[in-house]
């Protein structure tokens, strides 16, 4: 639901950055989305294509890199990649897991043409 407003915000920030750099057009934008960021990558991709179809971003390719979270078991201290909030410790099965990362939502880079 919120992916469209995020897409509009991403496009706005890409356009501003491209303008700052004096770019004629944007060829590619790389977006980083954490698996716990609450953003559906497919939905965001669709919204970016719809919302980005004009101006200097026309034809730009949006590449979305999905990033995993790191879970750390509070009982046995095992560290493991976690794909959801419901991550169980793979070595002792505990639910008492603290999660770090995975909340990323940012524009990593722009490939532009002068």
């Amino acid at each position: 639901m919120h992916e469209m407003s995020l897409a509009v915000s991403i496009i706005e920030q890409c356009s501003q950055a491209a303008e700052r750099e004096g770019a004629a057009r944007v060829l590619e934008a790389e977006i980083e989305v954490g698996c716990l960021a609450g953003v559906l990558a497919d939905s965001l991709r669709f919204c970016l294509e719809v919302a980005g179809a004009t101006g200097g971003l026309a034809g730009a390719v949006f590449r979305i890199a999905e990033v995993e979270a790191i879970g750390e078991c509070r009982l046995c201290a095992t560290s493991f990649p976690a794909a959801s909030f419901l991550a169980l410790c793979p070595s002792c099965g505990s639910e008492d897991v603290s999660l770090s990362g995975g909340r990323e939502l940012k524009i990593r880079s722009l490939t532009i043409e002068d």
Partner: protein, 249 residues
């Protein structure tokens, strides 16, 4: 075809007559990649930080109330304001897509209230709250409730500048909501389980609900309440008092 700009140079023979003085018809465009590392929600987060600083400077405890539509957020606020009004100054920001109905209910309790109508928007953001704060006449050291748009998805993403999020689930909903909407239960500090007066008529398993919520957020606190019968409301008021004391000991 050239890789960098899709021009046809090199693949076909082209014969072009130049007008005297005409600029070179073609040059290779420069392609480069610039690192940005820009947070998409930076604008919202910056404004939220400003809201938070403003509220802190006035020693106002701001709570962001989030839930599905119909969990009883407004009823909880009506009761809370009526029960605590002689002890605490309270103000409310009401978020709904349309109508001033909730603000009118709050206004009837005598509390200061501002209604934000988001139109098509599915959540409050920090700029809406900043604008509401300008209009709201709040006392220092008071309590500010921000009643978000009824939605368990989007409001989890948008920091408003609150001290904590309080998620409300009512026992007429499914007890597995915390696992269906983990984002919100993860972001919350306190979970109010509301409408407990209806438990005898339902098959809602409170223990199972709490267990499922703890799986997504091991630090989540719980209080079971009924805003209609008043059961458990005292523990909620104690929680509010503790949070306030934490703000200005």
């Amino acid at each position: 075809m050239c890789d960098s700009c899709n021009c046809d140079e090199g693949t076909v023979v082209t014969i072009t007559r130049l007008e005297p003085g005409q600029a070179p018809p073609h040059h290779h465009h420069q392609v480069r990649t610039i690192a940005l590392e820009t947070e998409v929600l930076a604008k919202n987060d910056e404004l939220a930080a400003r809201n938070r600083e403003y509220l802190r400077s006035r020693k106002i405890l701001a709570l962001n109330l989030v839930s599905s539509p119909g969990s009883g957020k407004t009823t909880i606020l009506e009761r809370t304001i009526r029960d605590l009004r002689h002890e605490l100054a309270m103000a409310v920001i009401e978020g709904d897509q349309q109508t001033r109905r909730d603000a009118e209910r709050i206004s009837a309790t005598g509390a200061e209230v501002v209604q934000v109508n988001t139109g098509a928007g599915c959540h409050l953001d920090s700029s809406m709250v900043a604008r509401a704060l300008v209009q709201l006449k709040m006392q220092d050291e008071s309590l500010l409730f921000i009643e978000n748009v009824g939605n368990l998805v989007c409001p989890a993403l948008f920091d408003l500048g609150e001290a904590a999020k309080v998620v409300i689930i009512s026992v007429t909903e499914g007890e597995d909501k915390p696992q269906k909407y983990p984002q919100m239960f993860r972001a919350a500090t306190l979970c109010l389980i509301n409408k407990t007066d209806l438990l005898p008529y339902l098959r809602f398993d409170v223990t199972a609900c709490r267990e499922m919520a703890v799986q997504v957020n091991p630090d989540l606190e719980f209080i079971e309440i009924s805003a209609v019968s008043g059961e458990g409301m005292g523990r909620w008021y104690d929680w509010l008092r503790q949070r306030r004391e934490g703000l200005h000991p």
